[in-house]
Symmetry: C2
Subunit: 427 residues, 2 copies
């Protein structure tokens, strides 16, 4: 026996049970996105490295992305994120598109990371953006969409929360502490590091950065201040809109949320699972100019991205993954013997024409074997046409769920099954 | 203004209108596949080159696929096809899976081809396989699925056809012409080349291969023989099952269909558009051992693959792409002025809770501007809450399709809209 070639590190295989989860996530994401009027789009999966280098520098892209030379020698990246492609697509048609744009996408991305719990090198990501306006009400819409997704998958406000802050608010708060403009980007990164360092190391790091002991005290008080948002007109309007949108119980102000990217300029947010692990589920925020790196007229917006790996871990943790339905069709039509192979095929086709999903057993076999298969794949109805049924123009149908069976005319069989399925749906 | 970084050659951007087509194709493929009881699965998008090299040789993979070294030096390929990943997935769990397997998938693939009409380097492909049995009725099921897909998208038997042949039949027909065993693989390839060469060149090529003038005459007669299938028990059963499955009008015997891959061992088929261009839409066939190259016990099956690019060209040619619905939600809620921003937000949320998709205008603006936006994005209903409506607890709703409007209590608005939408659906 040959050796089986293994998968590439950090990639996943989707057997039908795993694929059912991915497709379910995609369908919930579609439903939520479309209920707010967002249109689905997608960029290419391969892009020139220059598209990302403009934003992050070529070295960083080479370090974090899968990059390889094209046959012409040009460097190509497997897309590590969607925003640069989105920016190009918008900039290319800036004069034709009807703003504000509401666009969403769900597709594959690749990052060269050490595979670990919650991180794979090949993953799927939901991206959603509202582009072309700057109102705090738009920021609230995006955070509400995030909350509506949590509600749709069954995650409660006890299980997940969305922490919200505002970069402009933090900028003026740092100014009030006497932290000069040129030091503030470093202090933003310093704040962002706080939950990843030991307190004593964090303190030392702050002093090293050039913050005075007074400024350190002030900064700590700031980060604990749950009322700070009232000093921001944007956040006051944001939370007022959140309340009107009806899902504000998911959102909380948190002055320690900064988001790493300099790209964000206003309100920023992160969703986390609320148990001790505190897994980060998604992040997003308001930006001033989506198309800054690709040309085009300045264009503000707000958006977020959610990977499929961490949300699945959280959903599993809370038992919220829907049970796997192995059968995609409710009916198995059996083949009694070699001389009775055509009638079952005809029946299966008639059932499909009546709108029923049907699995046809592929060849004659002993009935117990066919029933065992029905059990394993999880169909509810098994249809049999033996010599007696054939002679009488009938079929026997076994309902494996209710453990009943009936022998009825062939022409009535599809209706009989559909009637029972309709009952199940109305229970 | 900076230069916009262009897309990589052979990749596509999916703006909402193009994405709507891709999603529609995916949804029809899902519906057809599931109506026959097939389960969705997917492999990784990155695979080690060795996975493909076992089947096609490393040089061919390097020539036809996107291949790059991993940081460990190992060669990785962007998957050019799904079958090797499928074979591994099945071989890995051969003892656990319930056979026959019915699996389908729709996802991205990459091939290093010269971009041309109908060919891109990054494309999507439907793969579907029935694995674990060898009956001609299974071959008929796959061809029927292909026909059911054509029927579902509106392609008629005048517009597309599925040409069917059988490798074993052809092998014995070549034997009858006195063509020795070791020459037959070359003759299969020679037959496959016929419609790509000038007749005179093809004739010369045949003699060069070592075929006698008599054998050439015999071969040509064979390729025109529309009754040849009657000599194959498999094809007799195949066409009998096709008739019982109800869509046999799409399928025809054609002795010139061979399929390039040696992997196929029995019945083979190709679907083509029937106008003069005769574009090839999909191809597939029966194989004896899916897992031959990856180990595991011999496993027969039948399957086909269809790319998204050519089928779209054919659908466009016949005007069968569904009209683009730019609005994903039927309702636009306007913002009258800055002091009246919260009530529209509340209304939009109430509408969504009632199951309506709603687009909220993102900021106060002159009403004509908001109506122009409604027109451009294609919503049907526009909801207005001005000072009079606010005072009276009412809303004004304009139905842009029927060119009517009504001013009604806010609590009745969602029901009013849903009633009109239900009428539209029942027309």
């Amino acid at each position: 026996m040959k050796t089986i070639i293994q998968t590439v590190k950090g990639t996943r295989e989707f057997y039908p049970p795993e694929m059912a989860i991915r497709s379910w996530l995609y369908s919930v994401i579609r439903k939520v996105s479309e209920s707010f009027g967002y249109q689905e789009y997608d960029g290419p999966f391969l892009e020139k490295i220059d598209l990302y280098a403009a934003k992050s520098g070529e070295e960083l892209v080479k370090e974090q992305a899968f990059v390889f030379p094209d046959r012409g020698g040009e460097l190509i990246a497997l897309r590590p994120e969607l925003t640069p492609s989105l920016a190009r697509m918008v900039a290319q048609r800036q004069g034709e598109l009807a703003f504000p744009l509401r666009w969403w996408s769900f597709g594959p991305f690749w990052r060269y990371e050490r595979p670990q719990k919650g991180r794979t090198r090949e993953f799927f990501q939901w991206n959603i953006d509202l582009i072309g306006t700057s109102s705090p009400e738009c920021d609230a819409e995006l955070v509400t969409i995030c909350a509506a997704f949590f509600q749709a998958v069954g995650l409660t406000t006890e299980q997940v929360g969305i922490q919200v802050n505002n970069r402009r608010l933090m900028d003026s708060a740092l100014a009030n502490l006497g932290i000069p403009t040129d030091l503030r980007p470093a202090v933003f990164k310093f704040i962002d590091r706080r939950d990843k360092m030991r307190p004593v190391d964090w303190d030392a790091f702050g002093l090293e950065l050039g913050l005075s002991p007074n400024q350190m005290e002030g900064l700590k008080a700031l980060l604990e201040d749950t009322e700070l948002w009232k000093q921001s007109d944007e956040l006051v309007r944001f939370f007022e809109a959140m309340d009107a949108m009806g899902l504000s119980a998911y959102a909380h102000f948190d002055a320690s949320i900064i988001r790493g990217l300099e790209y964000y300029t206003g309100t920023v947010f992160e969703a986390r699972e609320l148990s001790q692990e505190g897994r980060a589920i998604l992040g997003g925020g308001h930006y001033d100019n989506l198309v800054a790196d690709v040309g085009g007229d300045p264009l503000p917006g707000v958006g977020f991205a959610m990977g499929d790996v961490m949300i699945q871990i959280v959903l599993e943790q809370y038992g919220l993954i829907p049970p796997y339905q192995s059968a995609t069709a409710p009916v198995l039509v059996t083949i009694f013997d070699e001389t009775r192979q055509i009638l079952p095929i005809r029946l299966a086709s008639a059932f499909r024409s009546a709108g029923l999903g049907v699995i046809l057993y592929p060849e004659p076999a002993k009935l117990p074997k066919q029933f065992k298969y029905a059990d394993r794949i999880g169909v509810r109805f098994v249809v049999i046409v033996g010599p007696d049924e054939e002679l009488a123009g009938q079929v026997t149908i076994k309902d494996l769920m209710l453990r009943e069976q009936a022998t009825i005319p062939q022409g009535e069989a599809a209706g009989w099954i559909k009637g029972r399925l309709a009952q199940a749906h109305s229970l």
